[in-house]
Amino acid sequence: MMLTVRNLHVDVEGKPILKGLDLEIDAGEVHAIMGPNGSGKSTLSHVLAGRDGYDITQGEVQYRGEDLLALCTEERARKGIFLALQYPVELPGVNNLTFLRESLNAIRCAHDQPELDSAAFMRRVKQCAQQIGLDETLLKRQVNVGFSGGEKKRNEILQMALLEPALAILDETDSGLDIDAMRVIADGVNALRSADRAILLITHYQRLLDYIAPDRVHVLVDGRIVRSGDRELALELEQKGYGWLTEGAAA
């Protein structure tokens, strides 16, 4: 199993957000987690990536047979976990290429691979940029500074394509994108699908799933997975909304 989450309870500033979440993702699979605002979707993604400020009160997370919660953020990244942020952070003064190269080399280094020389690195980056339709001039700019919403999201997908993670978590990567941009990003994600890789899509709307077909869909309500199913579940949610599941959770 790639990822196993058991009975995960997480508080933020003393307030329970995740209240016993269970989830299993196997290599080669694409899972989608859907749910209304405030259900804990982003909390789950941040906890998996190792962000500070989340108090894990109960439960465990196994990643490829290892206790994920015992690892610090950069160790997780080096072991193949990647989080595409819902709101990518601007890094004033930090050149995008420098950022990409430092990331790639940190991860290569952790796998005892040699650092790429400049020429090889540039070839890789340009190839990835082309693949996801990122304007190459953005590579020379400061990370995310002055990027449009769509450019920021593409820059996240570029990092994902470059770093080739084992488990990619996409937190509302579709939000704020027009259909064309979403298609490009979906193509980028689909290109990454492989038997030894898993992808977790976190989304509020089902429209992303028209382009990236998930193997499993989970509905997160009030900190718990209240229903899991196949693609059909996503379509059902689109028709009925979350109300019928929310009531079920409250009962």
Binding site: G50, E74, A77, L85, L91, P92, G93, F99, E102, S103
Partner: protein, 447 residues
């Protein structure tokens, strides 16, 4: 405790006296008068104390604890690149001073174009006693405090750069000031004079480096006169030893339509102070200042701006950034004065500080004094720490925390360092900052 006034005055007189003994006979009446006047100022000027605004946050005790002596060693042979590696600028005319003394054999002023005087001040005074004396002291006058008086009292050498009307120099002029370690604490005085006639254009790069254990006190004073439409790009890159003291005072006078673009980096020194005094003597002149100070354990960096808008329609920009990465201190005291007649003044003053260590201290004091109507003036100051979201973002991409902090801090500094506009200097600034920050992250500096 600030050293007592009596001791302080003794110190200045002793240091001046030791310097005077070594002076060559001027044979130049005006120069002698200038020195004598400065000598009297050493008696008359008020002692430096914390009650003065300019010195409120600056203690000079550690400096006054030392007895400084002029350097007697031969300047040309006393220095090797083994003890102090200097990456040379490509294609620059270079004047080199070792502990304030001209080193002709290390310098390179070959193939200067017509219309440019680039020479050591002492040489110029010997050759033509009147040329430099036309301007020397005309901008700095008596100076503002005892260190300025000390500079004038033993005024002997420095850079003299004069560019005739309309001459544009593509190739930069480099003034390289090397601090060499001696058995005694060493005074390195320097007096520079830069005159650009109407429409002349030039880049001047001043670099200050020293041997690791040098206990030098660089007391530099530069007068810069820009005539109508002249443009000077002026870079000051200071990275002297932590055991050294560095004072650099710039007096700039700008005539109609002239442009002064200054970029200063202050990275080294136990105490490092820069003073800018800018006056406009004509309208439509532009003064664009940017600077970066980076201080770690045991360092004090000290910036003072005094920009005087007394005539209409001039523009000034001041953008200074501070990086406090260990238990260090910095002082930023920026004053822009807009006089009654200075309508249509456009002045901005910014000071942003990034504090990486919990026990660092920054005292920042931007001041705008506006007495004119119809002006566009603003000032802003920030003191902040690294944003945890930014650190997380980098770590989530596999970059460890120490490296993430370095990337973000050098990114903060890049707003200033990219203005250096020279690949050698940009790379040098980046790698120096990187090394300092990395040493701190290992625990040496207490971040």
């Amino acid at each position: 405790m600030m050293t007592g006034e009596v001791e302080q005055r003794h110190w200045f007189r002793d240091v001046a006296q030791r310097g005077v003994l070594r002076l060559p006979v001027a044979g130049n009446r005006r120069l002698e008068q200038l020195r004598e006047k400065a000598n009297r100022a050493l008696d008359d000027m008020p002692a430096i104390g914390r009650r003065q605004e300019d010195w409120r946050y600056t203690r000079i005790d550690s400096l006054l604890d030392q007895d400084f002596y002029p350097d007697e060693t031969d300047s040309d042979t006393s220095f090797t690149s083994d003890t102090c590696p200097v990456t040379p600028l490509t294609d620059a005319w270079r004047l080199v001073f070792v502990n304030g003394r001209y080193a002709p054999q290390l310098s390179n002023d070959a193939n200067r174009p017509d219309g440019v005087t680039l020479v050591s001040l002492a040489e110029s005074l010997a050759r033509d006693p009147q040329q430099a004396m036309r301007w020397l002291g005309s901008l700095a006058g008596q100076g503002r405090h005892l260190f300025h008086a000390l500079n004038s009292a033993i005024l002997a050498d420095g850079l003299f750069l004069h560019v005739e009307k309309g001459v544009h120099l593509e190739q930069p002029v480099e003034l390289l000031c090397l601090g060499a370690a001696r058995t005694q604490a060493t005074l390195a005085p320097l007096r520079n004079l830069v005159v650009l006639e109407a429409g002349a254009q030039l880049t001047l790069v001043e670099r200050f480096v020293s041997e690791a254990s040098a206990r030098t006190f660089h007391n530099g004073l530069t007068e810069i006169r820009l005539e109508a439409g002249a443009t000077l790009n002026h870079i000051c890159f200071q990275d002297v030893a932590r055991s050294a003291w560095h004072l650099d005072s710039l007096f700039v006078s700008q005539d109609t339509g002239s442009q002064y673009r200054g970029v200063s980096l202050m990275l080294g020194g136990a105490w490092s102070r820069m003073e800018y005094k800018v006056d406009f003597t004509g309208e439509d002149a532009v003064c664009d200042l940017a600077g970066l100070y980076a201080v770690g354990r045991g360092q004090l960096s000290d910036i003072h701006l005094d920009i005087d808008h007394s005539l209409p329609s001039c523009r000034s920009r001041s953008n200074f950034r501070g990086l406090l990465y260990g238990k260090g201190r910095a002082v930023f005291d920026g004053c822009i004065h807009v006089g009654e007649a200075a309508r249509q003044t456009d002045a901005q003053l910014r000071n942003d500080n990034l504090v990486l260590a919990p026990d660092a201290e920054i005292d920042t004091k931007p001041r705008l004094e506006i007495y004119a109507d119809e002006v566009k003036c603003s000032h802003g100051t920030t003191v902040g720490r690294l944003d945890p979201q930014q650190v997380f973002y980098l770590r989530s991409r596999g970059i460890d925390e120490a490296a993430a902090r370095i990337l973000l801090a050098t990114g903060f500094a890049a707003e200033i360092t990219r203005r250096l506009d020279d690949p050698v200097l940009c790379e040098l600034a980046d790698s120096l900052l990187h090394d300092r920050l990395a040493a701190t992250a290992d625990g040496a500096g207490g971040a």
